[in-house]
Symmetry: C2
Subunit: 346 residues, 2 copies
């Protein structure tokens, strides 16, 4: 009993191969009775068509892929749910593919397009600058979602849905400055130009510069852990360092809510009250920020709206209904318990 093929089914049914194929693929020109009979045998024998063979032959896959970089990101699961319902509405199939940290998402995409005859791709997470050569090679429509791309205009060969990390980051710092904070520490991620952390750091600097406050490098802490920079552990460890350094500060801006949770813990252990002694601000708008003690002031990214737009845009471009777009979604500053006026201003 080797692997069952369509041929075996045809034989068992006493029909031709193509008849079986027609039954499987809901083709119109087949009598209902034959169809039923074939399907019965298929169910009975537990036959499963070989997808590799199908992909090889098929021309009209009606399938889009979602490439995810960073499983850890809790944002992504809700985004995927939204993609799924949108994609199903248009009778498309959807495959989810993980991209390892060390892999290039465009390479994976190129490969997958060949393998599955994709009609479109959604990139979730990942770098925000790409090799133009690779971009050019990718012939199917695709859209980046979540990445703070700042792209020059010109002919848009793909779409981009994002929030402007730099602007939103600055928004938070402006808020802290308005509260009266002047010594604001930031816990961010490696300085590589492609990272979101870099953009958020730029926003931080923008805000300070605009008010003529000099940037103090002693207040900038960067996560070096390549594994998962956006972890509570990192926030905790760096805040310990920050405290130990003896440098003066009245607020901490963590560029991710997870980091902020670690920051809060470290401050708590050091006997600092939040926000009376130190204010803490996060970024992302994760559920944890709403339920932790104290609740986190944060920048909430409109993930649902972004995901919705992403899927809709991709499907429209595939259908030829519209052109590619770069869209920047505004994020919302959510004021909660972890921030307040600095001590000296009370």
């Amino acid at each position: 009993m080797d692997e069952l093929t369509i041929k075996d089914i045809a034989k068992k049914c006493g029909v031709g191969i193509s008849t079986v194929s027609r039954a499987i693929n809901n083709h119109p020109d087949i009598s209902p009775e034959t169809r039923q009979m074939v399907m019965d045998v298929i169910k009975e024998t537990g036959f499963i068509p070989n997808n590799s063979a199908r992909n090889l032959k098929r021309t009209d896959a009606k399938c889009i892929a979602v490439l995810i970089k960073g499983i850890t990101n809790p944002f992504f699961s809700s985004a995927i749910q939204i993609f799924e319902t949108q994609v199903q509405k248009k009778k498309y199939a959807m495959v989810i593919q993980h991209v390892d940290a060390y892999e290039n998402e465009l390479d994976v995409a190129l490969q997958l397009v060949k393998e599955k005859r994709l009609r479109g791709i959604i990139f979730l997470g990942g770098a925000y600058q790409h090799d133009p050569e690779q971009i050019a090679k990718l012939k199917v429509p695709f859209v980046f979602c979540t990445i703070g791309t700042v792209q020059d205009t010109g002919k848009k060969v793909y779409s981009n849905i994002s929030v402007d990390d730099r602007v939103e980051s600055r928004k938070m710092i402006d808020y802290l400055l308005d509260l009266g904070h002047k010594r604001i520490a930031i816990i961010t991620e490696g300085t590589e130009a492609e990272s979101v952390g870099h953009l958020r750091l730029e926003g931080y600097k923008d805000a300070l510069k605009a008010r003529g406050i000099e940037i103090d490098e002693n207040l900038i802490y960067e996560v070096k852990d390549r594994e998962d920079p956006y972890s509570m552990q990192n926030g905790y460890a760096l805040t310990k360092k920050l405290l130990a350094s003896g440098v003066d500060f009245t607020a901490v801006f963590a560029i991710a809510d997870f980091i902020a949770v670690g920051v809060c813990r470290a401050l708590h252990e050091a006997g600092k009250r939040i926000p009376q002694d130190v204010s803490v601000a996060g970024y992302d708008g994760l559920a944890i920020g709403e339920f932790c003690i104290p609740q986190l002031t944060t920048i909430r990214q409109p993930m649902e709206a972004m995901a919705e737009k992403t899927a809709q845009l991709l499907l429209d471009v595939i259908a030829g209904k519209c052109k590619h777009e770069y869209i920047s979604f505004p994020a919302e500053l959510v004021e909660r318990e972890s921030t307040g006026k600095p001590r000296n201003q009370e």
Copy 2:
């Protein structure tokens, strides 16, 4: 410029098709020079072999798959990392495949085996009881990881790595009872027999019964949300209900750390101090439990060890080095800030 194929490369190189194939697949019988020349052309043209065609023809895929049910679970990302390093050590490839909540993981597995010629499968999460017929159909070695299966012995046709949810859950309740708590509320998940929540509820009942404490249905709260039962939101909402019900309790056992975080928040908002007024216990051993305020007492599942064993076992079975096993890992009760003696005992 349609899709490039191996034929085009052969022509461009002035060699035969099989030579190109040999170059790609690191076959021995090819001269280093030809090999280099072919690889150069491939790099230059950006040729990408079609995976569907490869899978179709290949006999020795050296590939195993990890099927994940529930993206949300933060456990899984660390498990996957471990799988990956183990699998790579043996020169195997690994594909990660998500299984939707409504999909049957065995169906997906069956399909994937045909498509990719898998040599083995790891199931992460998902139901812990399966259709024996489907199990029988799956001819490659596979191992379930994370699910609290209680299986009768006999000839083992697959492996199972788990912690005994029922026993571990009871351990936590015993601990709370030892502290002096008698009125322990539990926040758990739907009662379906296949759910982990059910097992943990059974452990709860076991502990109470063993001490002759009658089970009060008013203390049992079940999440009905099918979306993501293990959410902070659910813990929060159910605790609100619990508080509103006016029923007396001195401790809450949440069957997941995420739920516990929501529980803490709700208690905090109600002005209850943790653990002075109410003790809260979680289950899982997530990072959040270590960094939230107060730190969570919890049952820490030894995910790293389990993942390691899972991968190792699967690879050994594939290599014919050993038979399938059912292994139950002991979990550890981590005592932290969220639990203490009940008020009346202070």
